[in-house]
C-alpha cells in the first residue's frame, strides 16, 4: 500500500488562524468602523502571516514526499496530529470537558468525586483507598476554604 504524507500541522494551524481572521472580518461588517479598526488590523496581519506559515507547511510536506519516494524514514516529531499521538490528548480533553459540563448540569461536588476517581484511574493509579482519601480530602478542602470561608456558591444543578 502506498504510504501517504499527512497534512503538516503548520497548514492545519494556519487554516485555523485564517478562519479566525475571517470570522473577525465578518463580525466587523455590522459594527461602527472605529470599533473595528484595531481588531481588523490584527486579524488581517494574522491571516497574512499565516499564509506564509502555510506555504512553509506545504514546502515541508513536499520534502517529506521526496524523502518517502527515496525510501527514507519520514518519522519525525513534526506530525503531532497522527491518531497515535492525538488519542490521549483527546481523551484528556474529553474527560476535562465532561467534568466542566458535569459541574454545570449535575453539581460541583458529585462531578468532582466522579472526575477525580476516573482521571486517577485513567492515569493508572489503582490504590483505591488513597484515591478515595485524596478525593474526599480535596472536596473537604474546597468546601471549607471556598464555600464556607470565601462564600463561593457553585452553580445550582441537578444534584446540589
Amino acid at each position: 500500500m502506498k504510504k501517504r504524507v499527512s497534512l503538516h500541522p503548520d497548514i492545519i494551524m494556519s487554516i485555523f488562524f485564517i478562519a479566525a481572521a475571517l470570522l473577525f472580518f465578518l463580525e466587523s461588517r455590522d459594527l461602527p468602523a472605529e470599533t473595528t479598526r484595531f481588531p481588523c488590523i490584527c486579524a488581517g496581519l494574522m491571516a497574512f502571516l499565516s499564509v506564509f506559515i502555510m506555504i512553509g507547511g506545504f514546502r515541508k510536506m513536499r520534502e517529506q514526499r521526496k524523502k518517502l519516494a527515496a525510501g527514507e524514514n519520514t518519522e519525525t516529531g513534526d506530525y503531532p496530529f497522527s491518531w497515535e499521538r492525538i488519542k490521549f490528548p483527546i481523551l484528556a480533553f474529553a474527560v476535562i470537558l465532561a467534568y466542566a459540563l458535569g459541574i454545570i448540569y449535575i453539581g460541583f461536588f458529585v462531578s468532582t468525586f466522579v472526575f477525580m476517581m476516573v482521571f486517577m484511574w485513567l492515569l493508572r493509579y489503582r490504590v483505591w483507598w488513597k484515591m478515595l482519601l485524596v478525593t474526599v480530602a480535596m472536596e473537604a478542602f474546597v468546601y471549607i476554604v471556598f464555600v464556607t470561608q470565601l462564600n463561593l456558591i457553585f452553580p445550582r444543578a441537578l444534584l446540589f
Binding site: P9, D10, M13, F17, A20, A21, L23, F24, E27, S28, L31, E34, T35, T36, R37, F38, P39, I41, C42, A43, L45, M46, L49, S50, F52, I53, G56, P80, R85, F88, P89, L91, A92, F93, I96, L97, Y99, A100, L101, I103, I104, T112, F115, M116, F119, M120, L122, L123, R124, Y125, K130, V134, M138, V142, F146, L150, L152, I153, F154, P155
Partner: protein, 506 residues
C-alpha cells in the same frame, strides 16, 4: 530623584505593618512553599503555578497578592535545582545547567553541600535582583514620562514582537500567536463606549474574555493534557523515584571563598539577561555556568563537570537574578522580560496597577511594599529552601496522577471563583486544548498571553493617535523622537531571527 527615594522611604513603615498581617504571612508561606514544590516537580513550572494561584488573589490585597505570585516565580526557579541535584532531573528548564555538577557532587557523597550551594546562590542572586529592581525600576520608569498614546501603541507591538522573536522557534508563529491574543482582547465592550463587539451572538462574551481564565487554560490545563499523554504512553513514570539521601558536610569557609565572587558576578549577569526582554532564566543559567567555568581557579578546574561548586553557584545565582531583572522592564514600560513576567503583568493589571512612572509615584504605597515583599521572599527562601530540600522525597514521591487531578479541580474552582460564570468553565477547557495545540505546533503561548494582556493598551494608543494626528498619522509618528526610537528597536528585534538564520546557514 530625591522625591522617588522619599516615597520609597515613606513606604517602609506601611510595608512593616503589612508584613506582619496574616494575609502577608500566608502569601509568603504559600508563595515560597508552593513555588519550591512546583519547581521541584518535573513537568510543572512557575508559569503554571502562578496562573493556578492567580484566582485566589482576587480576594486578597494587591501587596500580598503580587508578593505571593513573585515569590512563586523566585522559589520555582530555586526548587528546580533541587530535583536537578537529587534526581538528575531538572524541575524547570532553568535548572538544566545545574544538573551536571550538582548531581555529580551529590553522587560523590556531598548532597548537602550541593544543596546549600544552590540555595545560597539562588537566594543571594534573588536578593540582588530585588535590590536592583527597587533602585533601577523607578528611574527607568521616568523614560515612560516621555510616552503618550503613539508610544504606548508601539510598546504593545514591541512587546509581542520580542516575545515572538525570542520565546518562539519561529518569528512568524510567535507573531501570529500574539496577534491572535490581540484579537481576543477586542472581544466584549469597546473601551470607554457601550458598543459590544465580536460576541459572535454569544451572550457570555459581552463581558469579554477574562485574561486569568485564558491563562489558566493555556498554562495549567494544557500542561495537564501534555502530562496526561506522557503518563499514558510511559508506564514507567509510576516507579518510585531514586532520590539521593541528604548527607555529608555543609559549606565550609574555604568553600564560601570559592563561590562568593562567582555568585556576585553571575548575579550581575543574570540581572542583565533578565532585563533583556524574552531571554529568560534558562539562558541566564547557561551564561552563568559559562562565566563560572571561566572564573574557576586552576586548582579546581578538574572538578568542573564532576561536581564543582562553581558549576552550581554560577547558574543558580544567574537564574534567580533573572527574576528581578525580568520585572524591571515589566513594571516600568509594560515590556515583560520573560513569559512568567508576562503573566505577572496581567496580575499587576488585575489589581489595578498600571506599569509606568505612576506606579512608582501615585501607587508608591503599594509598589514599594510589593518589591520589599519580593526582597523578603528571596531572603526567607534560603532557610525554607534548606528545610524543603530535606522533605523533597515526600514531594517527588507524590503520584503524578494525584497531582494532575488535583490541579484540574483547582483550575475549575479558581475559574468559577473569578466571576461566577458557567461559560468560563467551558472557555477554560477550550483554551486548554488550544494551548496544547499551540505548544505541540511550536506556537508560543506566552505570545498569545501577552497579546491578550497588551491588546487593550495598544488599541487605546492607536485610537488616541488617530484622534490626535489630524489626518496625518505617519507624520504624527515620525515627528515624535520616542516613536522613531521605538520603531528602530522594533526593526532591530524583527531582524534578530533573520540574522541568526543567516549566521546558521554560514
Amino acid at each position: 530623584m530625591s522625591e522617588i527615594l522619599n516615597l520609597m522611604w515613606q513606604s517602609i513603615p506601611a510595608f512593616i505593618d503589612e508584613l506582619f498581617t496574616l494575609e502577608m504571612l500566608f502569601a509568603l508561606v504559600v508563595g515560597i512553599g508552593g513555588g519550591l514544590m512546583i519547581g521541584a516537580l518535573p513537568g510543572l513550572n512557575p508559569a503554571a503555578g502562578i496562573t493556578l494561584l492567580l484566582p485566589l488573589t482576587y480576594t486578597m490585597g494587591s501587596v500580598p497578592s503580587l508578593t505571593m505570585l513573585m515569590a512563586i516565580y523566585a522559589a520555582g526557579i530555586m526548587g528546580g535545582s533541587y530535583s536537578a541535584i537529587l534526581l538528575r532531573t531538572p524541575g524547570t528548564s532553568s535548572a538544566a545547567a545545574t544538573v551536571t555538577d550538582g548531581h555529580a557532587l551529590a553522587l560523590r557523597g556531598e548532597p548537602l553541600k550541593a544543596l546549600e550551594t544552590s540555595t545560597f546562590a539562588s537566594g543571594i542572586g534573588g536578593i540582588f535582583s530585588a535590590v536592583a529592581l527597587l533602585f533601577i525600576a523607578p528611574f527607568l520608569a521616568r523614560v515612560s514620562l516621555a510616552f503618550d498614546s503613539p508610544e504606548y501603541f508601539l510598546l504593545g507591538l514591541f512587546g509581542i514582537t520580542i516575545i515572538a522573536s525570542l520565546a518562539s522557534e519561529s518569528l512568524l508563529k510567535g507573531m501570529v500567536a500574539g496577534l491572535f491574543g490581540m484579537c481576543l482582547s477586542a472581544v466584549g465592550q469597546f473601551p470607554l463606549e457601550s458598543t459590544y463587539r465580536y460576541t459572535f451572538g454569544i451572550k457570555a462574551l459581552k463581558t469579554g474574555l477574562n485574561s486569568t481564565v485564558i491563562l489558566l487554560g493555556l498554562f495549567s490545563i494544557s500542561q495537564v493534557i501534555i502530562q496526561f499523554s506522557a503518563l499514558k504512553r510511559d508506564h514507567s513514570t509510576h516507579k518510585k523515584v531514586d532520590i539521593l539521601k541528604i548527607s555529608g558536610k555543609g559549606l565550609s569557609l574555604s568553600d564560601w571563598k570559592r563561590i562568593l565572587p562567582i555568585i556576585v558576578v553571575c548575579s550581575f549577569i543574570g540581572l542583565y539577561i533578565g532585563i533583556l526582554p524574552g531571554a529568560g532564566a534558562a539562558i541566564g543559567a547557561f551564561v552563568g555556568y559559562d562565566q563560572a567555568k571561566r572564573m574557576t581557579k586552576k586548582e579546581y578546574k578538574h572538578e568542573l563537570g564532576q561536581g564543582a561548586l562553581e558549576g552550581i553557584a554560577g547558574p543558580e545565582a544567574a537564574n534567580n537574578a533573572v527574576t528581578g531583572g525580568a520585572l524591571i522592564p515589566m513594571m516600568t514600560l509594560a515590556i515583560p522580560g520573560s513569559p512568567v513576567a508576562a503573566i505577572l503583568l496581567g496580575a499587576l493589571q488585575i489589581h489595578g496597577l498600571t506599569p509606568g512612572f505612576a506606579l512608582f509615584t501615585e501607587n508608591a504605597s503599594e509598589t514599594y511594599p510589593i518589591i520589599f515583599g519580593f526582597l523578603i521572599a528571596n531572603a526567607i527562601m534560603i532557610p525554607l529552601g534548606l528545610l524543603f530540600a530535606r522533605g523533597m522525597k515526600k514531594v517527588v514521591d507524590l503520584p503524578p496522577a494525584v497531582l494532575y487531578t488535583v490541579i484540574i479541580v483547582l483550575v475549575f474552582v479558581g475559574t468559577y471563583s473569578i466571576s461566577h460564570s458557567k461559560s468560563d468553565l467551558i472557555i477554560v477547557v477550550l483554551f486548554g486544548l488550544f494551548g496544547y495545540l499551540t505548544r505541540t505546533c511550536k506556537y508560543t503561548d506566552s505570545g498569545l498571553c501577552l497579546g491578550l494582556i497588551l491588546g487593550t493598551m495598544t488599541e487605546k494608543g492607536l485610537r488616541r493617535s488617530f484622534q490626535l494626528c489630524r489626518g496625518d498619522i505617519v507624520g504624527y509618528f515620525v515627528g515624535r523622537p520616542a516613536c522613531v526610537a521605538l520603531v528602530a528597536l522594533l526593526a532591530v528585534v524583527l531582524m534578530i531571527p533573520l540574522v541568526r538564520k543567516a549566521k546558521a546557514k554560514k
